[in-house]
Amino acid sequence: MEKKSSKKFLIIQTSRQVSQFFFFTLFIYLLLKTQFPNGDYIGPVEIFFHFDPLLALITFLSSHIFFAAFFFSLIAIFITLIFGRVFCGWFCPLGTINHFFSFIFQKLKLKKRDKKFNLINWKYLLLIFILICSIFSLNLVGILDPLSLTFRSLTISILPSLNYAFNLFINLLAKLKLNFIADSLVQFSYHFTINSHFHQGFFIGLLFLTVILLNLSTSRFWCKYICPLGALLGLISRLNLMKIKVNNESCIECDLCSTNCSGQAQPFPNEEWKITECIYCFKCGKICPVEAIDFKFEIIPRKKSINLERRKWIFTAILGALAIPFFRIGPSNKRSSPQLIRPPGALKEEEFLKRCVKCGECMKVCPTNALQPCLSEAGVEGFWTPRFVFRIGYCEYYCTLCSQVCPTGAIKELRIEEKVKIKIGTAFIDKNRCLPYFNGINCIVCEEHCPTSPKAIKFVSIEVKLPDGSIKKPLAPVVDLDLCIGCGICEYKCPVVDKPAIYITSIGETRSEKNKLILEGKF
């Protein structure tokens, strides 16, 4: 009888590990699949995000639009109502990463016993803060949402680092005269588009590293004290049916279950168990020496739960409301930033900010690495939202991938016919640096690469006086404002490599009414 019980928890534990491994692999697989699919349309590679009730709730509150794909998040809510926070313990990729590193740190004896901090309420307060902000249309969820955080960190920091290491390895192979292996590996690596140059790659990587290293102080530090999705699922799981049952008769009060709990849920004593904190990893069941622990479905709600002091959460809510003006006093609301060139299909700036969750899907899928996380170009609110940096890449004319993978519709899904008509900015020529204009040399690389038909860059014959007084008549580029869509390939390919002689600014972008250059329509 006793053996049977321990076997049961062994099976449950193993299936939890299998589930964690499976969903983490799926997450990585979809991450790697978020690239040019050798065709025009990519599948639902962003599906993970649609199961995230936090993203669904916050983007709904801030934009007042429920993005249809988020109906999947109801499944997550439904599961939580029955089984509790299994999402955290069984499915969440960041949870898996934290769990894995906690385990490794323990095995390597880098940490002994989990410290207990009295910080459980933090994540609820953070959730309340984010929630209140979203009610006032400020969407901050992306910074701390675990899926956004993981995807963004992997895309912007981890994959580029791995790519760099891969190149070092290839160079090493080449030095060892193993060129055949090196060549095959390089050709194979072309099946993956790894964007390898990102602004803030170091910073975002450092934050991710911090999340991992926090596991040194206590396992799953992030999940216990910070994760706002965990907090939301915790609140939902107050109503959940699956509950722990400690058999007080056989319990020897060793406290092993509470010391080893991954969620600081306090299985012992039974009345103290916090239903909102249990992530259903079933460690307690397996570790219990007398098999006194069991989980049962029970309709009667438990009284004991987290104690959010009313004073504190009301204070946080007020703080949230007060914070909004602080986010909005930057100059970006007064005038569009010239460097803020959004992906084609991006909604109007206000709407865009309400929906963008800074997940980095668009930056991963961009075939040329041109989409980069904002620092201050879009204000504090737009931190880590995407913008084009045309010195790194350019917007590929027939590509609509970023609009297809955006999980919240901040970038409207476009068909290719629609996309090629959308202006994201306008090209300008710096005649002081452009070779034909200032030195009479033929060039017109920009004209050659201009992808529109007819071309938005035309050239005219001009007269240039050279330093020796002679006159040359080269062909020089001019931009047709009606045709230029601001794709930036001219800036990218310009042979004046340090500071290009042709560059894009955001003016004239289709999505904005204010940021216009030429008068349109009839009056």
Binding site: I170, Y397, N442, K493
Partner: protein, 295 residues
């Protein structure tokens, strides 16, 4: 040479000619240029090569062959910005039939390589014919002496150097700086580095490159030609159906012949004038023996 020697040699030579050795006469009857028109790009390519005497004339058994199509742009075949995939496929098949050990296909495109390779249809067509499709690997770039009159040193993909033969398979297109881009300009795709600087002396660069690489065979795909907004076009109205393939060894003659599809003269193109002056080929292509056929 003494008079007697001369007389003896001419008698021997004359007899040899009049005896009509089968091999000798066969080479003599091969045209310098083959120009085939027809509905199917695959068939006209094969026919053009067989008019030239078959691929065996150019490819020897056991050769490693690099085929250099134009895969420069993220465009579909019907937009006429890249070499027709069916033409590439036919050339690969012929190379293998002639006994080539390995046929490689690669280009250094202007747009992102993965997109151009896939959307041009060339990667798929080439793989189906058994060729190895390589993406340009920046590690293979080698700075070499190109022995040009103007272009002395530049980075070249070693795939084009460490090979027995290069077969150039360009497409005929409009280009605003050089007016037209065909076989000779296509070789810029063998280069790496900051290629956009080459525009400053484009005619000289193109001439130097052709003299350096000396493709053993050039097959100009003029099935769809881009008559405006080159070199990438976009609209179908930029494309004209010419339904022709021109093949031969003399790349100057082929490009000169190509100008006529656009209503231009060979002398209109700077690099053709230059190449002719340097004796790289014949600009008066009509003087050559031309094998014309319509399928």
């Amino acid at each position: 040479m003494k008079r007697r020697e001369f007389l003896i040699k001419s008698i021997i030579g004359g007899t040899a000619l009049s005896l009509n050795f089968p091999l000798f006469s066969q080479i003599k009857t091969f045209p310098d240029l083959a120009m085939v028109k027809g509905e199917d790009p695959y068939k006209i390519t094969k026919r053009a090569i067989s008019l030239l005497g078959g691929m065996k004339r150019f490819i020897s058994k056991g050769d490693v062959v690099v085929i250099k199509p134009n895969i420069g742009w993220d465009r579909k075949p019907e937009q006429g910005a890249n070499t027709n995939p069916q033409v590439v496929k036919a050339v690969i098949e012929l190379c293998y039939e002639a006994g080539a050990k390995l046929v490689k296909v690669l280009d250094n495109p202007c747009n992102q390589a993965r997109r151009t390779y896939a959307r041009s249809g060339i990667a798929k067509a080439a793989k189906s014919a058994g060729a190895k499709v390589y993406f340009p690997d920046p590690r293979h770039l080698k700075k070499i002496n190109l022995k040009g009159e103007w272009l002395k040193e530049w980075k070249v993909f070693s795939d084009f150097l460490e090979t027995d033969k290069i077969v150039n398979v360009p497409i005929a297109k409009h280009h605003s700086l050089t007016k037209l881009t065909m076989g000779m300009k296509n070789l810029i795709g063998c280069l790496g580095g900051n290629r956009s600087q080459l525009h400053q002396q484009i005619d000289e660069v193109i001439t130097d490159l052709s003299a350096f690489f000396k493709p053993c065979l050039t097959i100009l795909d003029a099935y769809r030609i881009l008559i405006k907004n080159g070199p990438q076009g976009g609209r179908l109205s930029d494309v004209k159906l010419q339904k022709t393939v021109v093949a031969g060894i003399d790349y100057v003659a082929i490009d000169s012949c190509g100008t006529t599809f656009f209503g231009l003269k060979p002398e209109d193109l700077g690099y053709l004038r230059l190449a002719y002056k340097r004796g790289l080929g014949e600009i008066n292509w009509e003087k050559l023996r031309i094998g014309k056929e319509k399928l």
